[in-house]
């Protein structure tokens, strides 16, 4: 049997984590292909419904990643994201979505190396959790 390859949706902010991903790329640092980056202008615009939709479509993990505290291009979007992630971590695990499937990280624009390291770690941890919805047919 093929080893389980998790699919991870990552909402990354334009100014920090996306720039870090770009830096990782231009520095020729590898990171697993399991991660699908979705660039958003700010983590503060990630409505909880984006995360919920990703899980219901079968994502095995969701990452939201933005600027370090104090560095948000829009001053406080990352603080809002932190509250929403806390909120979702209260809701989703009640319905069997493991708390560790949803992550929030701060990765700054110059952290290309850290970006590739964290992505590798995230994929490993999510792989251990196994598939989110083995029978996708259940999802409506």
């Amino acid at each position: 049997m093929e080893p389980f390859e998790p699919a991870i949706i990552a909402f990354v902010c334009n100014w920090c984590t996306y720039t870090a991903a770009d830096l990782a790329g231009t520095s020729r640092l590898a990171y697993p292909k399991n991660i699908r980056l979705i660039r958003v202008m700010c983590t503060g615009m990630v409505d909880p419904q984006y995360v919920i939709k990703a899980f219901l479509e079968g994502a095995d993990g969701v990452l939201i990643s933005g600027c370090h505290p104090g560095d948000c291009h829009y001053i406080n979007g990352n603080y809002k994201a932190r509250r929403r992630v806390k909120l979702l971590k209260e809701i989703l695990p009640r319905f069997g979505i493991d708390d560790r499937r949803l992550r929030l990280t701060w990765i700054g624009a110059s952290d290309g190396i850290e970006f590739s390291h964290i992505m590798g770690e995230l994929v490993e941890q999510t792989r251990e959790l196994g598939p989110m919805l083995p029978d996708l047919k259940m999802v409506i």
């Binding site: 505290p69 509250r83 809701i91 069997g96 979505i97 929030l104 999802v139 409506i140």
Partner: protein, 381 residues
């Protein structure tokens, strides 16, 4: 300033006593219109009515177990901008809480409205109420029969059971408005007390010629404690059942299996605060190829789609503001026990932020703020 008055009741006729009290409030406290549950002129049914002629208060029925809508929604229509007159509203405690939540979101104002709340013995679902009311010659008779035993410790006889949300409600007390009418511990030997909880409540009571409270209602505290104990026990059991029944995504889908995406639950929810819900927009009118692609990928998809997505999103959007009124269940044409599920989630989301929806008008809704340093455990792998 008057803190409290007693509402004189003749021949145990609480309903007439309440009507006289409301009439006095209207006439003596300069109220131009009052939003109050009242009998429809066309049929034996109760709806919130906006009454400007005090003579119409003979139709008012603040004791009825009917709870067709959470009137907080209607009150925002009247208060989102100055209405050009002074208003009063008679609300259940969960309606006051819902209104407070909407005021915090700038969808209503408390300044121009005098809120009168009553201790609440619970309400009937719409269908139970219709059956109950139709068993009496008049709505007044039905309300009197309900009110006579609603607060007594004696078994309720053949009265129908109040809703699950009411049986689980842990704040049925009338202290959230400007004036509260106290009925817990009501032994029908003493007249009910109307107590001011704000300055505008005091001002309104000061203008009335009502006698001071007869004796401090001693039984009240104990009565509240004992009803809360019963309700908490029910609620804990109910939450445990919901938790068990919904602990996986397939289990949650099973719980919501009868849902047809009519969104009545959202429309009836007083704290689904958006003027246009994202689920009513074209965002969810997917391209035809999209549906087919989903069906191909999954083998089959239920139409309408996005049912679970809708409910989970609604939880994320409004559970911090859920006041436990039960109107979502009441509105569901397919008898899904939605308020059991939503109050269960709400308890945990509100608990996580140390917030209780609607109780403190000055407490900031959790999603409307942040601290620079908080919840470090949320960040990182």
């Amino acid at each position: 300033m008057t803190q409290a008055v007693s509402i004189p009741i003749q021949d145990h006729d609480l309903l007439t006593g309440m009507r006289s009290f409301l009439t006095a409030i209207m006439e003596k406290s300069g109220i131009d219109a009052i939003l109050v549950p009242a009998r429809l002129s066309v049929k034996n049914r109760i709806m919130p009515m906006l009454i400007s002629d005090p003579a119409c208060l003979t139709e008012a029925d603040p004791l009825s177990p009917a709870f067709p809508v959470n009137a907080a929604q209607q009150l925002t229509r009247l208060t989102r901008q100055p209405a050009g007159g002074r208003l009063a509203a008679v609300l259940r405690p969960c309606e006051v809480r819902a209104f407070n939540e909407l005021v915090k979101l700038n969808q209503g104002r408390r300044e121009d409205v005098l809120i009168i709340s009553l201790d609440c013995p619970g309400a009937l679902s719409n269908s139970d109420f219709r059956t109950f009311a139709d068993g009496y010659d008049s709505l007044d008779a039905a309300s009197r029969a309900f009110a006579a035993t609603a607060f007594s410790s004696a078994p309720a006889g053949d009265l129908p059971e109040v809703t699950s949300a009411c049986r689980a409600c842990d704040h049925p007390v009338c202290d959230g408005g400007d004036i509260g009418i106290e009925r817990f511990g009501d032994d029908q030997a003493t007249d009910p007390v109307a107590r001011a909880h704000t300055e505008s409540g005091q001002a309104a009571l000061t203008g009335l010629d009502f006698p001071p409270p007869q004796a401090p209602a001693e039984g009240r505290k104990a009565a509240i404690q004992s009803i809360l104990a019963v309700r908490r026990r029910y609620r804990d059991g109910m939450f445990a059942e919901v938790a068990e029944a919904t602990n996986t995504i397939p289990a949650l889908s099973t719980y919501l299996a009868d849902c047809v995406n009519c969104y009545n639950c959202r429309g009836a929810c007083p704290v689904c605060y958006c003027t246009t819900c994202v689920f009513s927009t074209d965002t969810f009118r997917h391209e035809p190829f999209q549906y087919v692609q989903w069906a191909r990928r999954k083998g089959e998809i239920k139409m309408p789609t996005d049912t679970l997505f809708f409910h989970l999103t609604r939880m994320a959007h409004m559970s911090c503001a859920c006041v436990g009124c039960g109107q979502c269940t009441n509105a569901c044409p397919n008898d899904i026990p939605l308020s059991d599920l939503f109050t269960y989630v709400a308890r945990h989301t509100q608990g996580a932020f140390d917030y209780r929806a609607g109780l403190d008008i000055n407490a900031r809704p959790p999603m409307n703020g942040f601290e620079e340093e908080e919840y470090p455990e949320i960040v990182g792998l």
